[in-house]
């Protein structure tokens, strides 16, 4: 066998190994980092600290369900009597929420019940809460992946 032949075979072997290696890396690598899934955050202008939680377990696709939003000042005082507007949708599908959720009750300690939430598809959803209270109007956006 000539040395040129050996080099061809060697090069082929290296390419094959490289393909193999890359395939394994591709298969086992985590998916691209998703959106920020934090359920507590400060509002955009920093007026409020919000946290959100489903009222009864993680929501399932298609089920009408409720969330509890807790609104506090940055100093940690509960915000009472806030007006809460709820919006959102699926950024990758360019559509909004399938329902019109509303804040239906004040539960005390800065907590508000949000009823009428529904996620009709799996995937990345955004929930936007507009807060209007004596400290001013501000909003916060949360990401959820179903």
């Amino acid at each position: 066998m000539t040395s040129a032949w050996r080099m061809v075979v060697g090069a082929f072997g290296l390419v094959a190994l490289a393909i193999g290696f890359l395939s394994v890396v591709f298969l086992t690598a985590p998916a691209a980092p998703g959106p920020d899934l934090a359920r507590s955050k400060n509002s955009a202008k920093g007026l409020y600290a919000l946290s959100i939680a489903p009222e009864a377990g993680e929501p399932r696709q298609g089920d009408l369900h409720a969330w509890v939003v807790t609104v506090k000042t940055r100093q940690g005082a509960p915000v009472e009597g806030a007006e809460i507007a709820i919006g959102g949708g699926m950024p990758e599908h360019a559509h909004g929420l399938p329902t019109s959720p509303e804040a239906t009750a004040y539960l005390g300690d800065g907590r508000y019940r949000i009823e009428g939430m529904k996620f009709s598809m799996t995937g990345w959803w955004q929930l936007k809460f507009g807060i209007t209270a004596p400290a001013g109007a501000d909003e916060a956006t949360f990401n959820l992946v179903l």
Binding site: S23, G62, L64, G96, T99, E102, G116, S120, M121, G123
Partner: protein
């Protein structure tokens, strides 16, 4: 020796490539989970309907079945629910638009699994199975009857059965033979001339007719398909039996359905529907009245006296979340129509809300090319699908037949 090494390297490269999922015949773990979620085995039990306390009453269901197939339940004595919802044809009629007393503007929908819908009709203009059943009875193109005529008929033909299930019937003899809010001008005037108590008594009987028919319709369910048996085998980690295994083309179609073609975004879960309404750019039918889909009927469902907020609902108002929080004004509702289930779809052309497409090939082609909507924005984006890929999608859809 060198040749041996070469062979080994090629073999190693081939195995690695196969592991990386280069073959269409293999499904990733995520794809397998999606496929398993589409099986009938993943369908939750039918939830109760607290707004209809007769929903699971066998006597009511039996009366409902009788009424469903009774052509006496129409103005001319020729139209029953079963006229368009044919029992041996998936409870649909194979026509572009259903024909009752005259041709309607919409494709007749099949009924298996219908009790699971939050809203009814292609545009969702009713919010319960029992209030849905009332609409065709008074529609001038369908049964074309009137409320008092139905009350008289029910008392005459089925009075004893009705009273055994529901409640004693009021005296009806002094009421007009044919009066209702949607009849001829004379019938509307006669309806307006009745007392509130008389109208309410008739409305009660009318709503009970809907509740009986709904009780019957709750029994209509989907049967297992090849895809269900294939998915169940996947779920249990065993190979499907020879007759349940999907061909290479069907697997390819399935992979496209839950992948590149984006079908399962809306046609999701065991019923292949997200129970929502979408503008997908389906063209209008020339000659039919203007049809704006969901946006045109939001006010109607909110104002319907038989809706969940009305006085004919049984049970508490906590069952009315879908109506209470309905999306009322989004531009997305313009020409939005319900995502239909795809179970048994190959057996019921033509397709779409007014029978616009004669074949599944045409449907797939529509979604691949994603034409603009005549009004509002289509949610669909074009997907480049080869002839082979389109054929594979159609082949897959045929595995959804019982």
């Amino acid at each position: 020796m060198v040749r041996g090494l070469l062979t080994k390297l090629i073999a190693a490269a081939t195995i690695t490539a196969a592991l990386a999922g280069c073959s269409d015949a293999d499904f990733s773990d995520a794809e397998k989970r999606t496929i398993v979620s589409m099986s009938l085995a993943a369908l939750a039990p039918l939830p109760p309907d607290p707004t209809n306390r007769f929903a699971d009453d066998p006597g009511a269901a039996a009366l409902g079945a009788t009424l469903f197939f009774d052509t006496g339940m129409s103005r001319d004595g020729n139209v029953a629910c079963g006229t368009c919802h044919k029992i041996d044809r998936q409870f649909q009629d194979d026509l572009p638009r259903g024909i009752g007393v005259a041709e309607t503007n919409r494709r007749t929908m099949p009924l298996a699994g219908v009790a699971r819908d939050p809203f009814f009709f292609w545009d969702g203009r009713r919010d319960s199975l029992w209030s849905q059943a009332l609409v065709p009875l008074e529609n001038v193109l369908e049964h074309a009857g009137t409320r008092t005529a139905y009350a008289h008929y029910l008392k005459r033909r089925f009075g004893e059965r009705y009273e055994r299930i529901f409640q004693p019937l009021p005296e009806l003899s002094m009421l007009p033979a044919s009066a209702g809010p949607f009849g001829t001008p004379a019938e509307k005037a006669a309806w307006a001339g009745m007392s509130d108590a008389e109208r309410k008594g008739v409305d009660r009987i009318f709503s009970d007719i809907g509740k009986a028919i709904a009780a019957f319709e709750r029994s209509l369910v989907h049967g297992k398909t090849r895809l269900d048996r294939f998915a169940d085998a996947l779920a249990q980690g065993r190979s499907p039996s020879a007759e349940d295994d999907l061909s290479a083309e069907e697997r390819h179609g399935l992979k496209l359905f839950i992948g590149k073609a984006n079908c399962s975004t809306c046609h999701t879960g065991p019923r292949f529907t997200d129970n929502h309404f979408h503008n997908t750019g389906v063209p209008p039918v020339a000659g039919l009245p203007a049809d704006r889909g969901r946006i045109a009927v939001v006010d109607e469902v909110l104002a319907d006296p038989f809706n969940c907020a009305g006085k004919f609902r049984d049970g508490g108002e906590e069952a009315c979340g879908e109506l209470r929080f309905v999306q009322k004004s989004s531009p997305e509702l313009v020409r939005a129509y319900k995502t239909p289930s795809l179970r048994n779809v190959a057996g019921r052309p033509p397709y779409m809300h007014a029978g616009q497409f004669a074949t599944l090939e045409q449907v797939v082609s529509h979604y691949a090319t994603a034409p603009k909507s005549v009004e509002g924005e289509s949610e669909i984006h074009a997907v480049a699908l080869s002839d082979g890929e389109r054929a594979a999608l159609v082949a897959f859809l045929k595995t959804l037949s019982e």
